[in-house]
Amino acid sequence: MRRTVGTLLVGLAVIAAGVLVATLRVNPYLYFAGYVILQYVVIATAWNILGGYGGYVNFGTPAFFALGAYTAVFLIRSIKAPLPVLILAGGLVAALLGLGIGYLTLRLRGTFFSIATLALSVVLQTVIINWEYVGGSRGISVIRPSGPPFGNYVVFLFTVMVALAVIAVLVARFIERSWIGRGLAALRDNEEAAECMGVPTLRLKLFATTVSGFLLGVAGAPFPYYVTFVEPNSAFALDYAVNALAMPMIGGTTSWIGPVIGAVLLGTAQQLATVTISSEMNLFIVGVVLVAFVVLAPEGILGLVRKLRGH
């Protein structure tokens, strides 16, 4: 109990630090870049709940992210809903999709599950492309509400993302430390054996896909206000799918801190590469680093650290 309170306090301290940074008025670009890195902390952490803890590789991250973003677009256009509503609604809709793919795991395991999630992303993108109300293939402009609670709107969104990242990491940490995390680890290692030992595998999988989906949707919901122009190709970008699995793989998938390390390192490197070289070069780096890590350091940075300590 005391540990839980301690963790929550650390989380609150991080949010407070985020607010403090927001009042500093440094170079506005830093908030812009910081938002993207924090968004990747949420995405990587969310992916890892299913992929790292449960061992189900989800290639459909863009589907969940875009579902969050487009739910927000829909609510902005129809009822001009405030940001907290957008985030909650985006998360809930994506959680429903998560529950759906959870039931898919009944029939599909391993590779087939991953291919199905990839397919899901394309089907959803086609639906959005043909849905004129949310912009269709041409995209749609979103006007930010005037007068954010403090600072300018990007600084405000940056602070919101700090809070979301903290919540995502706390959720992941809670899952990892509880019986849910141990159950997921059991089914990751051997699903049949876990089932035989009385681990409620279906319920655990449904829980993991739903929570993972919820957090991915939450990461996408503020996206329309951040970019102010949403179109299917940017919302469904394959970059999200690659980053979502590259970041935990690089950091280490077995612990909550792994995706955070991966997201911060890779996210920062990408932002630097985008500014200094080109946006294509930054994607190239992600691909190469990802392949290098899965081949040479399968346990990620955490695994390397553990090895150094052990010997």
């Binding site: 992929g51 061992g55 590789v57 290639f59 898919l104 029939r107 599909l108 391993g110 590779t111 087939f112 991953s114 291919i115 199905a116 990839l118 397919a119 899901l120 394309v122 089907v123 086609t126 639906v127 492309i129 043909n130 293939s137 394959l238 799918a241 690659v242 699995l245 590259a246 793989m249 080109s278 294509e280 070069m281 994607l283 190239f284 992600v286 691909g287 190469v288 990802l290 392949v291 899965v294 081949v295 040479l296 399968p298």
Partner: protein
């Protein structure tokens, strides 16, 4: 207003498209269907083949199909090399499920981004005497050569692979490795060597498929994403490694897609293949002709 001409045209175009889809899916049918290696980078190798064809066609005016054939030995070697890395890093450790999949996803991404760094995101196309001409079958139905040639080559590739797997020593060894690796080892054959050969052949097929792809329509580096769903839908629907099943599933998908794009618009045709894939995976993972 329903038009029979339109329907007949759509069905003919779909049948031709099916022959081409078979060519695209053969490699993955071999690698994923028979060897059980989830090579989701296969469509990227097809696009790589398309760009190799594009370069030789624009520089030397070489016929695209011929260029595709010429590149097969090189692609075979690349494929064999990729399999060796995959085997050493994942399969030998029994770690192929999670990290192997991520590995191939990374390879797909690297190929795609490298191509867009080298060639940009403009559409690239090839020149050949038969591209742009068509035969008139009468009654308003026509066949474009740019569809006919890939279809014929695709069917020929299917036939060659079918005969190779059934009639030759190495082909039968590949079938054996897909059925029982341990038994093959006990017979004194080396499964890793056989799988290296099979993987190489699968990637070599991608080179020729790429040449067909760029003959049919202009290509950009991200075209590979359109084919991930198609390839796996065809392989799963055709029954995981059944070469005849692959051809039939490819034709079915081709006809359905062609009908969809004629009557509902081309933006829906992609969703069809993925929809069929999802349905096939959920309802009958063994496919229509499952073993």
């Amino acid at each position: 207003m329903f038009s029979w001409d339109l329907l007949a045209n759509a069905v003919v175009a779909g049948l031709l498209l099916g022959g081409f889809y078979a060519a695209v899916s053969l490699g993955i049918s071999l690698i994923f269907g028979l060897l059980d290696i989830a090579n989701i980078a296969q469509p990227a190798f097809v696009i790589l083949g398309a760009y190799a064809t594009y370069v030789t066609n624009t520089a030397y005016g070489l016929d695209p199909i011929l260029a595709g054939v010429l590149f097969t030995p090189l692609f075979y070697l690349v494929g064999a090399g990729v399999y060796r890395i995959y085997y050493g890093a994942f399969e030998r450790r029994g770690d192929e499920a999670l990290r192997g999949l991520v590995f191939f996803f990374g390879v797909l991404f690297i190929i795609e981004v490298s191509l867009s760094m080298k060639f940009g995101v403009d559409y690239r196309l090839v020149q050949a005497p038969y591209i742009g001409k068509s035969i008139d079958l009468g009654g308003g139905v026509g066949i474009a050569y740019r569809y006919l040639v890939p279809c014929v080559v695709g069917v020929a590739m299917t036939l060659v692979l079918y005969l190779f797997l059934g009639r030759t020593f190495y082909g039968r060894a590949i079938m054996a490795v897909s059925q029982d690796q341990l038994a093959l080892r006990l017979m004194g054959a080396n499964p890793v060597q056989i799988k290296t050969i099979a993987f190489g052949i699968g990637i070599a097929a991608a080179s020729l498929a790429g040449a067909l792809l760029i003959s049919i329509a202009p290509v950009i580096p991200s075209t590979d994403r359109d084919y991930i769903g198609r390839m796996f839908a065809i392989t799963v629907l055709g029954g995981m490694g059944s070469i005849g099943g692959t051809l039939l599933a490819a034709v079915i998908l081709g006809v359905i897609e062609s009908l969809m794009s004629t009557f509902f618009g081309p933006s829906w045709s992609l969703a069809v293949s993925f929809g069929i894939l999802l349905a096939a995976l959920a309802v009958r993972p063994a496919g229509l002709f499952g073993r």
